[in-house]
Amino acid sequence: MEQSVIDWSRAQFALTAMYHWLFVPLTLGLGFIMAIMETLYLKTKNAKWKKTAKFWMKIFGINFAVGVATGIILEFEFGTNWSKYSWFVGDIFGAPLAIEGIFAFFMEATFIAVMFFGWNKVSKGFHLASTWLTVGGATLSAVWILVANAWMQHPVGMGEFNVDLVRTELNDFWAVISPVAIMKFFHTVISSWMLGAAVVIGIASWYMLKNREKTFALDSIKIASVVGVTGIVISIITGDITGNQVAKTQPMKLAAMEGLYDGANGVGLVGIGILNHDKTYNDGKDPYLFDISVPKMLSFLATRDINGYVPGINDIIKGGYTTQEGNIAVPVEEKIARGKEASEQLRLYKTATNEEDKETAKAFFKANSKYFGYSFFNSAADTIPPVSLVFYSFRIMVCLGLLFLILFVVVIYYIGKNKFTAARWLQKTCLWAIPFAYIASQAGWIVAEVGRQPWAIQDILPVQAAVTNINASSVILTFFIFLLLFTTLLIAEIKIILKAIQTGPVESVEDEQY
């Protein structure tokens, strides 16, 4: 397999997914906030809430359009660029995507039209329901795509490997909606509330700084800061549970997140650290140039026991330690050897001409089939993800999350004490904090996706066996077309949103709507 095809295909998927994720969290977070505002309008009958909700809906609409535009690529990219993946796990992976289409996309597409164009055509109650259904549709679509992603992190619900077709097959639909999937959903969607809140508070602070629309701005901040704090607190809880799950299902990812090469009992969590970039697997060097750790914290996070054992990268590769489930870890070299044996037996099964040979090959294959994915590696070191990217991304996500918690709490405090209007430093901080919410959100996905490398599906299929065999030049060309197109759309979106902010909330959104 040509390395450049793998790299460019990964780059293209990363590009399209990351661009898509610039728009989706705002849809989820802002959607929730504006739906609360419209609910208040119906409850209080105060027109100021209608005006407030409508302004944020306008921002929502501009952002939503680019989210849709960038999303369609992802739906088809599994086929165009990851076709071996599509075959190998399509029997399982296709279903969530189809369900997403049938349930979620139509719900969004139908009710968003009512939300934007139905103010004078349907009753207030029906309109409010439509707003909630638009947000519900967006959230529902997140459910299914996150179920699909969680399955890539923790593949479950499969029956016996289909040796005739050479693919994995589903045998338990509900198993796919695993605890990992449920946590992934809550962590991803609810952390998006934080992003939505950060954007609302930041933009509203701009109005405060400009001495414009103060009632509107303060009302917006009040709602958003509460949503933001709620979002972060839930994200911390779900993040903690996710960490614990990762320790069990993807120990290599956890080791990479911590830069932990040599495991031990009672391991500390690196709070701040700088990695030693000369460090390679098994060279005995110190992985950190500098680090400050919270004693025993990683052991507690991973095992719920302050003295629990957490394996490092070297241990996972060497095997021999006892896992949390009580099994003895198999060395990666052995997994590779058994994977290659499985692959060879599968080939023999497929080429055998008599039934007896077929049955023998099948039996040998079955004995090693769970390591089939390892057959594509030649060295154990190839199974280590890029440590520094995962390590730093994890710290960026956590640190920014905590900083936003502090910021939102301070905002609530200042509002409660009626001091927010005078606190220009705080308004400026809120405004400049907006991009950092995006950085935190993207960093989270880098931890999840890069931490899983080199696997496309954890322990089942590595990226080199998942990618489409196509010439690199085609992928390079589409990569740059996407880059140009999406960057242009991003610039357009930002300019339109800035203009809309400048114009400010108006009584009627339809003014500019065709």
Partner: protein, 366 residues
């Protein structure tokens, strides 16, 4: 439930989704008419306003069509999307530029200028139907591919499917003239439907008058292209089937497939008549309802033609380079378990259709 019934059921659902998609391409058809019908600023505003309330339904149906194909017949998704890479990419690009245009075109500070978004809408209206029609035609006329799962046991250079040639799908244009003929037919149909929709949805007498002329002229081109394609398909183009694992490249005609399942023949006839009646109502009478006859006619026609493409083990994606690699609904589907699970999910589809219908009835009330 029997595996074969489920495979047919999903092929039926895909055919139905395909039918709905072609009907909903009236949005694209309308977009391809914006330079013709929207010369005046006010007319353009009305046109874009009207189409802009429906575009997401078409877009969503396309995405769902792709995802449902993936879930039910992953082998097709795997081979076609990776092999005909450039065709699918061009289709996607044409829909990406559409998705932002309705929202951005009227906004201040839209960076590229109003004219660019108008061009985007036109391009999507032009390329979307032509490319989709051309791609769908390969379900009857095939492509040059082969696959063999055993190649996944090559641990150094694993492969699965292989696409012949260096054009990655673009060769559909010259492998047979019929692919492009269907592309043209779908394009002119979308314009016909677009004009019929405009007649129904807009109040302006001016636009309606021009739209009626567009129905007539586009319908003529549509009928020439479509009937050429249909006659060739039903009577001249051989069906391929697998007989005991051996490919038979002369297994009758598609007309035989229609006769074998008489409801498809009836559906096709009703569908074609519906389209013709809709065209008549739109072009030659004062009626506003042509879109409903032509629209439902389109759904029925496409449903029946797509269904006979795969019914009863008919090869629905023939490999011109390695015939034994050809796909049928039997050798390309998801597992029995997955199809069963997905079928249970599909029981909610009428509910989805019902709320869409209910909401638009409320929204389109004058």
């Amino acid at each position: 439930m029997d595996y074969s019934i489920l495979q047919h059921y999903w092929w039926f659902l895909l055919s139905l989704l395909g039918g709905l998609l072609v009907f909903l391409l009236f949005v694209q058809g309308g977009q391809s008419l914006i330079y013709t019908l929207g010369r005046k600023e006010d007319d353009l505003r009305q046109l874009i306003g009207s189409l802009g309330r429906k575009w997401e339904l078409t877009f969503t149906t396309l995405v769902t069509f792709g995802a449902a194909f993936f879930a039910s017949f992953p082998l097709f998704y795997t081979i076609s999307f990776s092999g005909a890479y450039w065709v699918w990419m061009l289709i996607l690009f044409s829909f990406v530029i559409q998705a932002v245009s309705y929202e951005f075109i009227s906004k201040q500070g839209n960076f590229l200028g109003k004219g660019t978004y108008k061009t985007f809408l036109f391009l999507n209206g032009l390329l979307g139907p032509i490319l989709l029609g051309t791609a769908v035609s390969t379900l009857f006329f095939g492509a040059q591919f082969q696959y063999d799962p055993i190649n996944l046991t090559d641990t150094v250079n694993p492969t699965f499917s292989h696409w012949e040639g260096a054009f990655f799908g673009i060769e559909a244009i010259w492998l047979t003239p019929f692919n492009v003929i269907l592309g043209a037919a779908i394009f002119f149909l979308s314009r016909t439907l677009g004009a019929l929709y405009i007649i129904n949805n807009l109040q302006s007498d001016n636009i309606r008058r021009s739209a009626r002329r567009q129905v007539l002229s586009n319908a003529v081109f549509f009928l020439v292209a479509f009937l050429t394609y249909l006659v060739n398909l039903l009577f001249l183009h051989p069906v391929w089937k697998f007989d005991n694992g051996i490919i038979n490249t002369a297994a009758g005609t598609y007309f035989d497939n229609l006769l074998a399942a008489p409801w498809t023949l009836a559906t096709l006839l009703v569908g074609v008549l519906g389209v013709l009646y809709g065209i008549y109502k739109g072009a030659l009478t004062k009626s506003l309802n042509g879109i409903w006859y032509a629209g439902i006619g389109t759904v029925l026609t496409v449903l029946s033609l797509l269904f006979i493409a795969g019914v009863d083990g008919t090869v629905y994606y023939r490999s011109l380079s390695t015939p034994s690699s050809s796909l049928t609904i039997f050798n390309s589907s998801s597992s029995h378990f997955t199809l069963t699970a997905m079928s249970i999910v599909s029981l909610f589809i009428p509910f989805v259709l019902a709320y869409i219908w209910y909401v638009w009835r409320k929204m389109d009330r004058k």
